[in-house]
Amino acid sequence: MGAEDTVGLVGEALAGDQLALTRLVAILTPVVQARVARTLLARRPWLAGGRDIRQEVEDLTQEIFLALFSRSAHVLRSWQAERGLSLENFVGLVSERHVVSFLRSGKRTRSKEDLATGEELEATAAESGPEEEAASREQLQLLLERLRQSLSPLGRQVFELLFVQELSLPEAMAASGLSADAVYAWRSRLRRHARELLAELSSSSSAPRKPEEGAPG
């Protein structure tokens, strides 16, 4: 769906067109769900033990829709296509903030007031705009690509074992055949290299990339 169609659909849904609202919910539900799921899983220790992740995803997804439409849909109305952020990205970022706020609050359930006002969303929006957050997400994706490109096969394997599969030290040792000291050394190298790449991207995101010298290999 093009930006113009999306603007039209949002306008119709806000004007009370049930069909448009149904379509909008159908389009945005997977976006909200995926962002809720990612944010919850990335911060799994913050979620109280024994809580069912599926139930949390359902509850939070529903809460986010209600927050988007509460108070005359002031959060949804604040989306402006001309600022360059797609509706999906905008709603994704709103969702992420909502989940982080929920996890920080430590509440088992949120009150109706919390759901209705969306004030937390506005407060965090004042700190950094959705466009800036989207840019940082893209930068992280770029950083991941560069890290993978610049690592040797062994470096990539250690990264996969320790940080993608999140294996323990003994598991990573068994899977790679490396000693504990070698795994520790690799972790330090990976950390240093990731920071160097991040600094390089931050200082000159549009400049042509220089060949990696001294990259772990």
Binding site: L19, A20, P30, R38, R191, A194
Partner: protein, 250 residues
């Protein structure tokens, strides 16, 4: 690892990004290829964490969509009908303003009344008939004839202005079905039609819409998934049904 885990924040963020690639977005959207779906199902069997991730991203489904739409509608305060305010204003107006307002009010009054809710009373096709609500997909074959009857919840006024349409939806695919429509004096609508002979097998959603002639919605705007509750506007009601098309028997 005994070192401070905060030292690895950046690497852990990158690991998380790598772990949940865009296949997981497609799982939530229900658009995975068969191969990718099998990969993620297999992955979900490898650990408790992977199973939890699979549960978190598994599509929420049509019932969830319906519940969200209902809750949004309940949370929105509907403004009072403008017609009442308009009438009060007419009493205070004079001269040409009053004439114009009266003409506008006449147009409003001549509009057909809002349609009541409708439900699918019966649908039949191929060799079976289904009465009332069903949770199982109805199974038909390409080329099957079908009949569907929609009944209003309350009396319908101006039944002579009623019309109906039917369409099949799957993802971005849309098939408009040719139907003959009969309307009885109480507003019940019966549609007779047949499925395309080249209709691909698989799961489809049938949308049957009854409404005022000239005011029926564009089928392209209807969702591709079935909705437990009918969609309603002032001049039309759309009812959906999950349909499974089996290949035509030899």
């Amino acid at each position: 690892m005994s070192e401070d885990p905060n030292e690895d924040v950046l690497l852990r963020k990158l690991g998380h990004l790598a772990r949940f690639d865009d296949r997981w977005d497609r799982l939530a959207a229900g658009t995975l290829s068969e191969e990718e779906a099998a990969e993620l199902r297999a992955l979900a069997e490898t650990s408790a964490e992977a199973r939890e991730a699979y549960e978190a991203f598994r599509p929420l489904g049509a019932e969830f969509h319906d519940a969200v739409v209902r809750k949004i509608q309940e949370s929105v305060v509907t403004p009072p009908a403008k017609l009442l305010r308009f009438r009060r204003r007419v009493l205070r107006l004079a001269g040409w303003g009053a004439v114009a307002a009266a003409a506008a009010a006449l147009v409003v009054l001549l509009r057909p009344p809002t349609l009541p809710g409708y439900s699918l009373a019966e649908i039949s096709g191929g060799s079976r008939a289904t009465r009332g609500e069903t949770t199982e997909p109805v199974v038909w074959a390409p080329g099957d004839r079908f009949q569907a009857t929609l009944r209003p919840q309350t009396e319908v006024k101006q039944t002579e202005s009623l019309d109906a349409q039917a369409s099949l939806h799957r993802g971005h695919e849309l098939r408009r079905l040719r139907v003959r429509t009969q309307v009885d004096e109480r507003g019940a609508v019966r549609l007779d039609g047949s499925l395309d002979r080249d209709l691909p097998p698989g799961d489809w959603t049938l949308w049957v819409v009854v409404g005022r002639r000239g005011a029926l919605p564009d089928p392209a705007g209807l969702p591709s998934t079935a909705s437990a509750a009918p969609l309603r506007a002032r001049n039309w009601v759309a009812v959906s049904l999950a349909l499974r098309i089996h290949p035509e028997p030899p």
